[in-house]
């Protein structure tokens, strides 16, 4: 089956080349070259103009502060939560039922990764704004605020609400990445040994498990870092405005009616790329210092009980789950509210009207959202299966680290290479086509499809495949009748994950769609600036519920389909 050889090349081609092209696409205009709008010669003038932008220094500081601190906090939280979840018993807790309950609620964190960033950010904004749900509950009881207090709880100038919003989404993601890497080391035995040497659970986790597991989650951590530094949709909703983060500035320059600001936007995108790059380099350096070079903290023999930290971690996990649940509930309530004035904690008049009013535009939006999502997911799955099947023929085990290129779209700021591609696509007249939109989603869907499916694929029992082969089954028949049938459930779960990734995409939809296609995410974010809570409620609630329905189906369909095959569900 030589034909499968084309898959690795093809995948690398649609991954690596466009990103290089995209970077190239912002580099040229940032040096003043953009013939379509009159830039004909290379110069450093554009960077000069960028540096003279008055808000730039504050923007840069804000970007770095919010990006690094949200990544760091969510990583630390994810590390401690993974210790609690995977060790099951936290040892001071004598009541088994309570322990199991705490583990279960912390475990439910993982399902939160299906909810798109924008929906979480919108719900969170509803919750924490000065007239939001939390303040209403407080006023109900004892604060006595009969008008919204003048507190800077949302879009604060330090970026705290932005950091918290990013935390809600990134902690579950990093937690999942840690949990799926754990089986690769003998972590239970190391903890057993560590405890018998007198170390508590968290000590064992930090000194023994983290140094072994970290290389396996390094790329996801970098992906989170770059995402936080360059995020647009969450920053639009929760981030500060005067000045905003760098990625928002880039967007504003792009949308500036004065076409010359396109040059500044490109230079800003190059700057964002440099910031991300140096953040990664610095992060990698500090990693090396703490985990490898200065490892005295691992071997100095200090033993702490860590009990307070364990309680604190559990509390944080519970708070994240509760907040995300309240987010969705709040969106739902707004979508059905006719009148919900401050300081009522519930709408005073309920209505179907919001849903009816937007039903027509909703139908179209949902259709496009699903179309783009399903097509890009199917293509990604096809590519991933082809790639994995090819591994059988080339007879070499591929190491996870050799997949770094699949992370490439996640390691280069979206705002940088998408902007570059958009600038080039204008010259090629590709912008605003469906194919271009699907391809841009594919870039972000494929890494997750790959991550999720390759594990199940590789864990297939090879003796089963050999048996089929010896029974005279051809390789293709083997692929469809044995492998893919055995992997029916992981296949559906992978599709659901792909769909949720596609639904969440904001910037790719905006840039590649050229404003001609709107998905639930772009609609929800664009209504966000209108301040009409009811519409936002409708779109953002649907946006957060759609991926969850997908995942539910992925679990239910195999249950029905294989209801007489107990090992298949």
């Amino acid at each position: 089956m030589k034909i499968f050889v084309v898959f690795p090349f093809f995948i690398k081609f649609i991954f690596v080349v466009p990103i290089l092209v995209g970077i190239f696409g912002v580099l040229l205009p940032s040096f003043g070259y953009f013939p379509e709008i009159g830039g004909n010669k290379l110069s450093l003038d554009v960077f000069g103009q960028l540096i003279r932008e008055p808000t730039l220094p504050n923007s840069i500081l804000l970007t770095i502060f919010s990006g690094i601190s949200s990544t760091l906090i969510s990583l630390i939280l994810a590390i401690f939560l993974s210790a609690i979840i995977s060790s099951g018993d936290f040892l001071w807790c004598q009541k088994r039922i309570l322990a199991n309950f705490i583990v279960a609620i912390n475990r439910s964190l993982i399902s939160l990764i299906a909810i798109p960033h924008a929906a979480i950010a919108l719900g969170f904004a509803f919750l924490i704004s000065p007239s939001g749900w939390i303040i209403r509950w407080i006023s109900l009881g004892f604060s006595g605020w009969d008008t919204p207090p003048e507190l800077e709880t949302l879009q604060d100038s330090m970026g705290i609400s932005l950091i918290l919003g990013l935390l809600l989404k990134e902690t579950p993601y990093l937690l999942l990445m840690i949990l799926i890497s754990l089986p690769q080391i003998k972590f239970k035995q190391y903890i057993y040994i560590g405890q018998s040497l007198g170390y508590g659970l968290f000590d064992c986790w930090l000194k023994l498990i983290l140094p072994q597991i970290y290389p396996l989650i390094r790329l996801p951590v970098f992906a989170v870092l770059v995402f936080s530094l360059s995020v647009v949709d969450v920053a639009l909703i929760l981030g500060p405005t005067t000045p905003p983060t760098l990625s928002i500035l880039i967007m504003q320059w792009m949308e500036n009616p004065d076409i010359n600001f396109r040059f500044v936007a490109s230079a800003g995108a190059v700057l964002l790329f440099l910031i991300s790059f140096f953040s990664i380099v610095t992060w990698r350096f500090l990693e090396w210092v703490f985990l490898e070079n200065h490892n005295n903290w691992q071997i100095n023999g200090k033993r702490r009980s860590g009990k307070i930290l364990q309680i604190f971690t559990i509390l944080c996990g519970v708070i994240v789950v509760v907040i995300c649940f309240l987010n969705i509930l709040c969106l739902l309530f707004w979508s059905f509210s006719n009148r919900w004035a401050y300081p009522n904690v519930l709408p005073s008049i309920w209505t179907w009207g919001n849903w009816e009013r937007y039903w027509n535009s909703l139908q179209e939006t949902i259709l496009i959202t699903l179309e783009v999502g399903l097509i890009s997911t199917t293509i990604a799955l096809f590519l991933a299966i082809g790639y994995l099947e090819n591994e059988n023929y080339i007879k070499t085990k591929v190491k996870m680290n050799s997949f770094w290129w699949i992370y490439l779209p996640l390691l280069v700021p979206q705002a940088t290479f998408l902007l570059g591609i958009q600038i080039l696509s204008i010259s090629l007249h590709l912008d605003g086509t469906m194919i271009f939109l699907i391809w841009s989603h594919l870039l972000f869907v494929l890494p997750y499809i790959f991550l999720s499916f390759s594990d199940s694929w590789r864990s297939l029992d090879h003796r089963m495949l050999m048996t089929a082969q010896c029974l005279g089954s051809s390789p293709l028949r083997n692929l469809f009748r044995i492998k893919l049938s055995l992997l029916f459930k992981p296949l559906l779960v992978t599709m659901a994950i792909g769909l949720s990734v596609s639904i969440a995409q904001y910037l790719p939809t905006l840039f590649a769609g050229g404003g001609r296609f709107s998905t639930l995410t772009t609609e929800a974010v664009s209504y966000a600036s209108s301040g009409d809570m009811r519409v936002i409620g409708v779109f953002a609630f649907l946006q957060s519920i759609l991926p969850l329905i997908g995942i539910l189906l992925a679990f239910l369909i195999p249950k029905f389909f294989y209801r007489h095959r107990s090992e298949m569900t």
Binding site: G88, L91, Q189, I191, S196, L197, G198, D203, R303
Partner: protein, 208 residues
């Protein structure tokens, strides 16, 4: 002195073995034998406090006068040795030993102590060596010393000789036993090999 009273394990309300009691005084090595699957390793997990949730254990564990049954695992002061050496792969040989050493020993003293231990187990000057490059016999010796350096008050042995070949097995067994006796540690050996039990030469319990 390690006193075990009416120890038994239950899986789905069914006893894995009949309750037993034993007193192990310092420097003696008691042996627990039984067919595979009778709960030998789970017994040691129970003593360490790391039993998985589907199995429940009962019985009193008294170590040097402390009732440790309700104490969390890392404070029980029980050292354990498995058949796999389980050296931490991210630390060097010396760092593996340093990990076990209590923090009351400060910088120079730590280094000195570890170098002495390395010399004692015939690995002088190997502080910064990668544990993966050691031979099987060298690895088990490091694992043994790592356990002892943590200053446990009792020692549990979970078939630590099972994976070694015959020659190495006897030598390592003698080393472990002599260290247990020299440190005056009450020791409980779990095995299915009667040669181990004979070498220990003390009380033997058959689980059934």
């Amino acid at each position: 002195m390690l006193k075990l009273e009416n120890i038994t394990l239950k899986l789905f309300e069914k006893n894995l073995f009949n309750p037993f009691s034993i007193e192990i005084s310092g420097g003696t090595i008691a042996t627990v034998m039984g067919p595979s699957g009778c709960g030998k390793s789970s017994l040691l997990s129970y003593l360490c406090g790391t039993l998985s949730s589907e199995i429940s254990g009962s019985g009193k564990i008294v170590l040097n006068g402390r009732d440790i049954q309700k104490i969390i695992p890392h404070l029980r002061k029980i050292g354990i040795l498995f058949q796999d050496d389980l050296l931490f792969p991210h630390l060097s040989v010396g760092e593996n030993l340093a990990f076990a050493l209590p923090s009351k020993f400060k910088k120079k003293e730590r280094l000195k102590k570890i170098e002495n231990v390395l010399e004692e187990i015939e690995l002088p000057g190997m502080y910064s060596k990668d544990p993966a490059t050691l031979s099987g016999g060298q690895k088990v010796r490091v694992a043994l010393m790592r356990t002892l350096l943590s200053e446990p008050e009792a020692l549990l042995l979970d078939e630590p000789f099972a994976k070694l070949d015959k020659d190495l097995r006897e030598r390592f067994r003698n080393l472990v036993f002599s260290h247990a006796r020299r440190n005056n540690l009450p020791t409980l050996l779990v095995t299915h090999d009667s040669a181990d039990a004979e070498a220990a030469g003390e009380k033997i319990i058959f689980l059934k």
